[in-house]
Each structure stands twice: as structure tokens, then as C-alpha cells.
């Protein structure tokens, strides 16, 4: 049964990859997306069965190098992430059927369709990989297929830059993972994922490597910079997949390692918690300043990844201090947040894609009034905003609630300094979630409400039905998994004592309904609806330039957090007289210092290019020189093996 499901899904995805190349028509693309839709249904059933029964199926597969079997295996952890893939993919494939047709040229449409399927397949296989080799192979396929999707608009400068940035970061990530897995392999002598019963001191190197590697891929500060470049460049459906699923695959890999370690150390938990809080708060603070809608959503992903890592850090800390229940609460909270983020962030990216398509720009300063022109998209985007701003009774709230609850119950913790750490990160967490609410008031309000600011927004038209349907799937799941959160978790065997959102939602709905009934008939009955212009201090003819803009909306926060944004204001002045009292002319330059880029990435890049320019001098193209190199290498090797091995 389980085998049939998995193989069915894999075969569907493989044929979905091949089909557009074979037939090259609109129908083939449609069929390809239907195949990915079908595969996601199969995966949904598969994940449900594994999660519910707790079976741990292992599927024997082929051997592609002597001694290196490639197996597929699933347990509840990987089933959870298969579920995550299975809930994001249906919406994306429904959406893409129409969306992919907006790409320029037939070849690009086919390529995008095929690569989307391949990308989904690779992510699925990473999650199901039974050993390190398979994991790394599919990890690379995942990275490369997404890279090609980021580069889909390969003629534009922006895409090239984004692609290069993404390529470097993702290679770096793989390099760290490789180092981490190699050192694990040296320790255990096997490439299987198994329990690591080693003292923590031996595992320090693998931990640091894997944390960095997965951190880069997940977009943890300070390795987050590729996200805001890659997401705007990629098609929106791919952004939804990358942000919704690929980042979570990195989380999965990290959890796979972390949960197999028998004796972790406290400082690991502290490190993860601190890095997580830093990502969360910096991500949302940077997002507030942004006015490119997709870049803004990318920064918001960094924030949510930070929250997930905070949950993981809390899990480690509570576990090592002996609070099993709290540890479980934080871990399930982190995983549930990953799941929720996959839902609402894919929803938001898909809606953003519709908006960008309808208006032709990504700048939210150019939007406005879209709720009148795209009412359905607006409602769906509102659902996403409400979930990501963690308002009850949606799913985004439930996972943050779990983490808050873990924090609030931590009074029994003994070590005072650890408590202080928790208090600090708790306040950072509170700040983050309130800033996220501010962020999504801004995004929704500036994009959809009031008057259109440009003619593009004025002429925008509602998205077509398949696209709306693709957005409706994650939106419905956001509300469903919020309302039934505690029931679903109990069904999966996690009875964590979190408040029941269903009853809360019903009471809330009931209260609003009662109020509506109560005041329905009050007021003068003869005047059905009066419409008067917005008050503008007596000025008539209100227009869109009077509205608050995106930059204006976030200005108070920009002023409050000016230390973090590090804007540099430089002025030059010239005067008409020698005593410098009559001002003649001058310039003011406001420059936003991209702290991580200018202080961390560029110096590293310069160092690398310096070293490589030295290395390239050795490559002079003469055969004799190369033989010399080989000669030296052989001599060195002989000496080395004689004395050290």
C-alpha cells in the first residue's frame, strides 16, 4: 500500500518532468501539472498513514555505486515534511496551469513546467532519502533545478545577479553539508542516518558544519542575503515552493541530524535559540523597510525561519534541563510552524504573483485600491496576512501560541542565567510577532485598500479562475488547520493542552453574528446607504497622492530602529561667503548600509577572489608545468604516507 503510493507519486512526478519535453504543447503542460497534483494527493494519503500509524517503512531501491545503496525510508519526522510538501503542491500546480502561460516563449513555458516537477521530486526525495549519499545527491538536484528556475528570465540583469548570488550561497551550503556528513561518516563508518551515541565533543564539528550548511539554505541571519535576491527573480509559483517547501527541507535535514544525537550539549541549544531570535527580529525589521512585494515576503520568510529555529533551540534547552513536556511542546510548535509557514507563505506568494501579473510591477507604492479590482485575490491575501500576523483562530497563531506557552511555563527552570536568556529571547519573540502584524497591515493596506496610486493599479483585472483556485487551496487549509489544530495534533498523538481554536472560532463567529442581529435594525430606516467623500480637512477632490505610502507607513519604525537600519546621511555644503553663513548649494545623500552585504559578504568575496587570482597564476597552460605539479604531488604523497599513515 505505502509502496504503491510512494512509487505512484514518484512516477507521476517523473512523467510530469518528461512530458513537456516530449510533447511541447499547452495540453502537455496542463497534463504535467495535473500529474504533480495527483502525486501530491498520493503523498497526502501516504503521509497521513505514516503519521497516524507510526509505521517506519523502508523501500529497497537500487545500488548506484558499489557499497552505496540508495534507499528510501520514512518515519514520522519525514512523513511530517512529506505532508508539508503535499499540502503546498496542489495549490501551486493548480495556480501554475494558468500562471506558466504568462512566461515569454514556448520553450520557457515547457522548461518551467518540467523543472517545477523535477524540483518537487527532488525535494520529496531529499526528505525520503534513507542515507547521506542519497540525501546529498537529491539536495544538489533540488538546488540546481531551483537555480534554473530562478534564472528563468535569463536575459535580465537582475535575474543574472540573483542567480549568481543564489548559486554561490547554495554551493556554500552544500560544501558545509558535505563536510558535516564526511565527518559524521568518519565517526560512524556508515552513511546511514542512525542514532549517534557519541559524546558531544566528537560531534561538535559535524554540528557546526551542518548548522551552517542548513542555516545557509534555510536563510538564517547572517546567511540570509540570497533570499531577497532569489525570490523576486523567480516566478511566483516557484517562490511559493522555494519559500514554502525548500527552506523547510533544510529544517528537516537539520532536525534529522539533531534528533539522532543522543547527548547534545546545552550550548548547541543556546546557539540555535540566539541565531533564531536574531533572524526573526532582523528579518521582520528589514521587511518593514522593503517596498518590493516579493522581496518583502522573502524577508518575512527569514523571520519565520528564525521562529522555527527558536522552537528547535528551546526544544534542546528544555530537553537537556529535563522538561520533556515543554521540549515536546517546543519541537511540535517548531514543526507546526514550519507546516503553517509553508501554507501561508505559499498563499501569499501566489497572491503576490497574481497582483504582480495584473499590475506589471512589484513595487507596492504603485498599488492601491486593488480590493475593488481584484476582490477575490484580496480576500485570499487577507487570509494569508491574518495567519502570518498570528491572529487567532488561524494556524499561524496556534504555532506561535505553542512557543509562547513553552516560554510561559519555563518558570520551573533552575539555572538563573538560562532563564535570563529565555526572558531576553521571549521579548525578542514578542517584538517580532508584533512587528509582523505591523508589516502585514502595511502590505495589505497599501496594496489593496484606498485609491489606486498609478494607472497600472487602476487597470488591474482579477486573476483567472485556476489561479484563484490555486490560491484558495492553501487559504482554506490555513483556516482549517487553525480551527482543528488541537484535534489534528491529538489525532497524531500530541496531546499538548493547547486551547481549542474551534470553540474559540465558533464563539467569535457567534458573537459577531449576534451583534449584527442586534444592531441590524437600528438607525434611520429611510436612508439605506449614504456615501460621502473621505474627509480631507475641507479640501475637495481627494486623490491618491494624499494617501499614506508604504515608506510613510513604516517611517515611525524606521526612526525607532534607525540604529539597525544604519542609514548614513552625508551632506556637502558650499557657502557664498568665507565665514560660511550664506548657504549657496549643497547635496544630501541618504545611503542605506547593507550591513551584511558590505561588512561580511563583500570582504569574503574579495578574499576569495584574491586567493583565486593567485591560484590562477599557477594555471599557465604549459604541459611541462603540469607534469611538474604531478611530480611534486607524487613526492609529497610518498613522504606523507611514509611518516603519517
Amino acid at each position: 500500500m505505502l509502496e504503491a503510493l510512494i512509487y505512484g507519486a514518484v512516477i507521476a512526478l517523473i512523467s510530469g518532468t518528461a512530458l513537456p519535453f516530449l510533447y511541447r504543447s499547452k495540453n502537455a503542460r496542463k497534463a504535467s501539472f495535473s500529474l504533480s497534483f495527483i502525486s501530491s494527493i498520493l503523498l497526502l494519503v501516504f503521509a497521513g498513514i505514516v503519521l497516524y500509524t507510526g509505521k517506519e517503512p523502508v523501500f529497497p531501491a537500487f545500488r548506484f555505486l558499489p557499497g552505496l545503496d540508495f534507499t528510501l525510508a520514512a518515519d514520522r519526522l519525514s512523513a511530517g515534511f512529506v505532508l508539508l510538501i503535499a499540502v503546498v503542491v496542489p495549490g501551486v500546480s493548480l495556480y501554475s496551469v494558468e500562471y506558466v502561460e504568462h512566461a515569454k516563449g514556448e520553450a520557457r513555458k515547457d522548461l518551467q513546467t518540467a523543472l517545477t516537477n523535477l524540483f518537487i521530486l527532488a525535494m520529496l526525495m531529499v526528505v525520503l532519502a534513507g542515507n547521506m549519499v542519497g540525501f546529498l545527491v537529491f539536495w544538489e538536484i533540488m538546488s540546481l533545478s531551483s537555480l534554473m528556475l530562478v534564472l528563468h528570465d535569463y536575459s535580465s540583469e537582475e535575474s543574472k545577479k540573483a542567480g549568481l548570488f543564489y548559486f554561490i550561497m547554495t554551493s556554500l551550503s552544500t560544501a558545509f553539508l558535505f563536510m558535516g556528513f564526511m565527518s559524521l561518516f568518519r565517526l560512524t563508518g556508515s552513511a546511514e542516518f542512525g542514532q549517534l551515541d557519541y559524546p558531544a565533543s566528537l560531534l561538535t564539528l559535524p554540528f557546526l558544519c551542518l548548522f551552517t550548511g542548513f542555516g545557509i539554505k534555510a536563510g538564517l541571519v547572517p546567511f540570509h542575503k540570497w533570499l531577497p535576491y532569489a525570490h523576486p527573480a523567480a516566478p511566483s509559483s516557484i517562490s511559493a515552493l522555494m519559500s514554502g517547501v525548500m527552506l523547510k527541507v533544510a529544517i528537516y535535514g537539520f532536525l534529522r541530524f539533531l534528533l539522532s544525537v543522543s547527548f547534545p550539549q546545552l550550548w548547541w541549544g543556546t546557539l540555535i535559540l540566539v541565531m533564531g531570535s536574531l533572524s526573526a527580529v532582523l528579518g521582520v525589521i528589514y521587511a518593514l523597510k522593503e517596498s518590493d512585494i516579493k522581496r518583502l515576503l522573502a524577508y518575512s520568510s527569514i523571520e519565520n525561519i528564525g521562529i522555527i529555529f527558536m522552537g528547535i533551540g528551546l526544544y534542546l534547552i528544555f530537553k537537556l534541563e529535563g522538561f520533556e513536556a515543554l521540549a515536546m511542546l517546543s519541537l511540535v510548535g517548531a514543526c507546526f510552524h514550519a507546516f503553517n509557514h509553508a501554507l501561508f507563505k505559499s498563499l501569499l506568494f501566489l497572491c503576490a504573483g497574481s497582483v504582480v501579473h495584473a499590475t506589471g510591477t512589484r513595487d507596492i507604492e504603485a498599488f492601491g485600491g486593488l480590493i475593488k479590482r481584484m476582490p477575490h485575490t484580496a480576500v485570499l491575501f487577507l487570509v494569508g496576512s491574518v495567519s502570518i500576523a498570528a491572529l487567532p483562530p488561524t494556524n499561524g497563531f496556534v504555532s506561535e501560541l505553542m512557543l509562547f506557552q513553552a516560554y510561559f511555563y519555563s518558570s520551573a527552570l533552575l539555572d538563573p542565567l538560562l532563564k535570563v536568556l529565555l526572558i531576553i529571547t521571549l521579548s525578542v519573540f514578542a517584538l517580532t510577532s508584533a512587528l509582523a502584524a505591523a508589516l502585514f497591515v502595511k502590505v495589505f493596506g497599501i496594496t489593496f485598500l484606498a485609491l489606486p496610486r498609478t494607472k497600472y493599479a487602476e487597470e488591474a483585472a482579477e486573476a483567472t479562475n485556476p489561479m484563484l483556485l490555486g490560491e484558495a487551496v492553501p487559504a482554506a487549509l490555513c483556516i482549517f488547520s487553525g480551527l482543528f489544530s488541537s484535534r489534528i495534533l491529538v489525532l497524531l498523538g500530541f496531546d499538548l493542552g493547547i486551547p481549542d481554536m474551534l470553540s474559540l472560532g465558533l464563539i467569535l463567529g457567534g458573537a459577531c453574528g449576534l451583534i449584527w442581529l442586534a444592531v441590524r435594525n437600528s438607525g434611520p430606516s429611510e436612508s439605506p446607504r449614504i456615501s460621502k467623500e473621505t474627509w480631507g480637512c475641507g479640501m475637495l477632490g481627494q486623490n491618491s497622492t494624499m494617501e499614506y505610502s508604504s515608506a510613510g507607513f513604516s517611517e515611525p519604525l524606521v526612526v525607532i530602529f534607525k540604529k539597525i537600519y544604519r542609514t548614513e546621511i552625508s551632506t556637502t555644503r558650499t557657502y557664498s561667503d568665507t565665514k560660511e553663513s550664506i548657504f549657496k548649494s549643497g547635496t544630501v545623500r541618504i545611503h542605506l548600509i547593507k550591513f551584511f552585504e558590505e561588512r561580511l559578504y563583500l570582504p569574503a568575496a574579495y578574499a576569495v577572489s584574491l586567493v583565486s587570482s593567485q591560484v590562477s597564476r599557477m594555471q599557465n597552460g604549459k604541459l611541462d608545468t603540469y607534469v611538474l605539479y604531478v611530480f611534486i604531488a607524487v613526492l609529497t604523497l610518498m613522504t606523507f604516507t611514509r611518516y603519517y599513515a
Binding site: 538563573p416 542565567l417 535570563v420 540604529k563 565665514k579 560660511e580 553663513s581
Partner: protein, 233 residues
């Protein structure tokens, strides 16, 4: 009713804990208040809190010296010194101190939280619960952090008059530390208070002589060279 509360050591200890928080709040206010008159009031309140702490401790411990310290603090720091400084303030006509060096008030509050932690970590290396009870240990921590916050005031505020208040805060910290840990001999406490009086008197003379900020003092030392306009005052 009241006497039964005074006889109850847990109630008194709870009181002292609440007072600790208020002492730190006054220190934070000294870091951020801009109005000189309010600054003085805050300092007087801080000293009054110390008086209260010392007297509650007397009711817990019964050590007469504590009562003497309380009385001395009441006379000198709650009454005399603020009056002196008030006189200076009126003479030099400064009502506000708006500028800050290195640290703005908001970050300096964050820094002071760090200082409290540091004080805790530092002292927990020296004392453990066998030597000092939790309350006394906490008193030491608060005393040390008060001293450090006073130092913060001295370098982060501009006007001499505020710096003096910073110095006085530091001394309050030392006093608090002394009450809880070192059993400062009473005579030393008296000497310190006399020192403070002299300090304040000296400041009166100096401050009236050299207006308001130490930068200006440096400027004057460089003997009225050329007037460079547009310089920040």
C-alpha cells in the same frame, strides 16, 4: 496591625525586594531624565529608598548601626545635598541637560540591564548561598549594579551637575553594597558623607565658575583662540 507586619520577616523581605526594583528604576531615571529639577527629586527619592531599606533591615536584623546609617542618609542625602545642588542649579540657570555622550537613554537602559546581569554573574563567583542569604546576595548585586549605572551616568551625560548626581548615585551603590555585605564601619560612612558634602560644595564653586559642560571648560582652557562658528554647543 503595622507592628505585626514589622515583626514578620518574610513581609519585610518582600518589602526590601520591591524597594530594590525601585532603587534600580530611580537609577534608570537618572540615566534618562532631562530636567535637572526632576533629576534631583529622583536622587532624593533614591536616597529615601535606601533609608527605607536600611530601616527594614534593622527590623529584620536588629543591628543598631543600620538605624544610624538610615538617619545619616536621611539628613545628608535626602535633605542637605539636594538642597545644595538646587542652589547651584538656580545660580547657573541650567534647567535641562539634553545632550548625551556615547549612549542615548534608550540603549543605555539596555546596557544597564546587561550590567545587572554582569554584576550577578560576577558576584555569584564570589559568594554562594552558604555565605549569604538570597536577599543579601541580591542586595550586593543591586548595590554593585547601582555603582556601575552611576558610572554610566558620569560618562554618558554632559553637564557637570548631572555628572555630580551620577557620582552620588555611585556612592549610593557603595552604601547599599556595604549594608548588605561588608558591614561598613559607621565611622567610614560618616567620612564618606563628609567627603560628599565637600564634593558638592566644590562643585558649586567650580560649576558657577565654568558654566555648564566639561567641554566648555576644555574650550576655555584653550584660551579663547579663534571663534569657530557652527560648532556644536
Amino acid at each position: 496591625m503595622i507592628s505585626s507586619f514589622l515583626a514578620d520577616p518574610t513581609f519585610l523581605e518582600d518589602m526590601v525586594r520591591i524597594l530594590f526594583v525601585f532603587v534600580l528604576i530611580t537609577a534608570a531615571l537618572i540615566l534618562s531624565t532631562r530636567n535637572i529639577a526632576s533629576l534631583l527629586t529622583v536622587y532624593a527619592v533614591q536616597s529615601l529608598l535606601l533609608v527605607l531599606i536600611a530601616s527594614s533591615l534593622y527590623f529584620i536584623e536588629g543591628n543598631r548601626t543600620l538605624l544610624a546609617i538610615a538617619a545619616l542618609t536621611l539628613v545628608s542625602k535626602v535633605l542637605l545635598i539636594p538642597i545644595f545642588i538646587n542652589i547651584i542649579g538656580e545660580k547657573i540657570k541650567i534647567s535641562r541637560d539634553l545632550k548625551f555622550n556615547y549612549l542615548e537613554p534608550t540603549p543605555s537602559l539596555l546596557v544597564s540591564m546587561g550590567l545587572i546581569l554582569l554584576a550577578y554573574v560576577f558576584l555569584s563567583g564570589f559568594f554562594n548561598e552558604f555565605i549569604l542569604s538570597k536577599l543579601f546576595f541580591m542586595g550586593a548585586v543591586i548595590g554593585l549594579s547601582l555603582t556601575l549605572m552611576g558610572m554610566l551616568v558620569i560618562f554618558s551625560r554632559r553637564k557637570v551637575i548631572t555628572k555630580v548626581i551620577g557620582y552620588l548615585t555611585m556612592e549610593n551603590g557603595v552604601l547599599l553594597f556595604g549594608i548588605f555585605v561588608a558591614d561598613l564601619p559607621f565611622i567610614i560612612e560618616i567620612l564618606i558623607v563628609i567627603d560628599l558634602m565637600i564634593l558638592v560644595l566644590l562643585t558649586t564653586i567650580l560649576a558657577i565658575g565654568l558654566d555648564s559642560t566639561s567641554e566648555e571648560y576644555h574650550q576655555r582652557l584653550q584660551t579663547l583662540k579663534i571663534w569657530s562658528g557652527g560648532e556644536e554647543q
